[in-house]
Amino acid sequence: MRRGFLQSTAVSFARAIARAMLSEQTAQRRGLLQALDPRVRVVGLFSLVLAVTLARKIVVVAALFAAAAALALLSKVSLSTLAKRVWLVVLAFTGVIALPAIFLTPGHPITPSGPASITAQGVHAAVLLILRVETAVTFTTLLVLCTPWTHVLKALRALRLPREATTMLAMTYRYIFLLVETATQMVDARRSRTVGVLPPAEQRRMAARTAGVLLSKSMAMSNDVYLAMHSRGFGGEIQILSDFRMTMRDYAGLVVFLFAGALAIWMGR
């Protein structure tokens, strides 16, 4: 049965909350990535994503994919979670995009020539694209799963991201959940008063109304937040505590990440 606006939007909200909860839970486990300083995690995984995008050889990208899977296991992230959350989703999305490339890319045909012959260059391009996206998204997901969002933010601050930007990221992340909760309550309230399926035009009107009320509430809330910040003495100057301490293990981790990234870039030229 097809779901209407109310049900499918409620499902989207629930899924977002579930994803955030999963990250919070995974970040608490005692794994390899979790044990490293968040700055090392951010720099290390970003450098591996860079290596994945720079490497031009399938075998090197495949090796990085294997490294990502090993890193997941060492960080107590199950491969089935990764498969469900990343690998199958990417395969479905990028696979559909990459598949026609095996026919459309000009090059040496490897099947009998006809209206749609497969070319060696096409297969190479499709495999490289799928593998590259799978690997890069796995590294990003590992960062998201193994690092509480507050630590990602602190690491970004340590990397000299402007304070205004990190403050806005932090506030937005908090308010997303508040607004998701508000929107869920609005959707649930309407669902409990709806019998049968509404016509699409009415559903669109309801979506606009829900979004409109949410917008009005958001703007009122931003005013309240401003007043609350103002009352506590906020005048636009942002003060941040940084209590991270690098240990020998963190330095060793950083060296391993950077060495692996550099090696992959060099070998994948």
């Binding site: 909200f13 994945v52 995008t53 205004e164």
Partner: protein, 355 residues
Amino acid sequence: MHIPDGYLSPSTCAVLYAGAAGGWYAALKRLKRELLSRVIPLISVFAAFSFVVMMFNLPLPGGTTGHALGVTIAAIVLGPSGAILALSIAIAIQALFFGDGGISTLGANCFNMAIVGSLVAYALYRMIAAGAALTSRRRVIAAGVAGYLAVNAAALVAAIEFGLQPVLFHDAAGAPLYAPYRLGVAIPAMMLGHLTFAGLAEAAISAGLVAYLQVGDPKLLCRTSGLPRGAAIEAAELRPAATSLRRLWLAVAALMLFTPVGILAAGTAWGEWSPAQLAHAISLAASARPPVQAVPAGLQRLSTLWTAPFPAYAPAFVRSRSFGYLLSAMFGTGILLSLSLMAQRLVKRWRGATA
């Protein structure tokens, strides 16, 4: 339209990060003229709102659903600078905390959706709604058209980024290293989905929100109304706005139906010459001197860049077949939308008659 890691080369990502950084800097500088302590919560809460609106599953005509970007309503309520920052923050949160959209492509995604989207949406809304009262129906239509075209402009920029990858980055054997399709395939493939679902979703939510705000919270429309602030608020309290969006759908359909009219004009559009036409034009312009036979080498080489994937789709009277293909797509979408509206009207009439 969120580009994941791996579709764009690192150098493309770097260029788009630089482009996005320019946009962020300009937007922040502009907003800092206002009180920074006021701007930070405003942008943050609006970014959270955009994030939530992106999760809405909007039912579209024809039984499908689509997700809006929320960039148009951000541009209408906050203005372009605020919209650029709010959307960029929402996109960054998706990438950094939810793993949606790439990290290397974060600059590209912000450039396409937040910067191009906001600027196009704002410019079109201001242009179409210029001088209209705050509760005018024209503002609803302006928001819908701005939303439709802003999402398509962002998608077109993304498609161009994809389409340049195989031309610029391939290995010695010619195999593409990143997104594998050239412009001739990338643009129609990307645009078809956005001319239909994504564009309509953004048009529906933007127009619906403006119609709601006209009644529910007209002050939020004052910032970008172009009207004197006091007069705008006064006008906002005069009459309720219409609730039906049918006129918007008709406007979008008419917009798409009339797109091919431009190509009926004689001659080639300025700057869109083929190498042969350019050679002819140069020789005409310099008729006192000996005629020029050769066109610039760069143009000759790049003229093969754009090839039609399905030439049969292009109408014969269109000179550039890919362009014709795109127009055909728009034209087709317009016809489908019009048919859907007509069918809807007929069904309603039939139901009314049987009742």
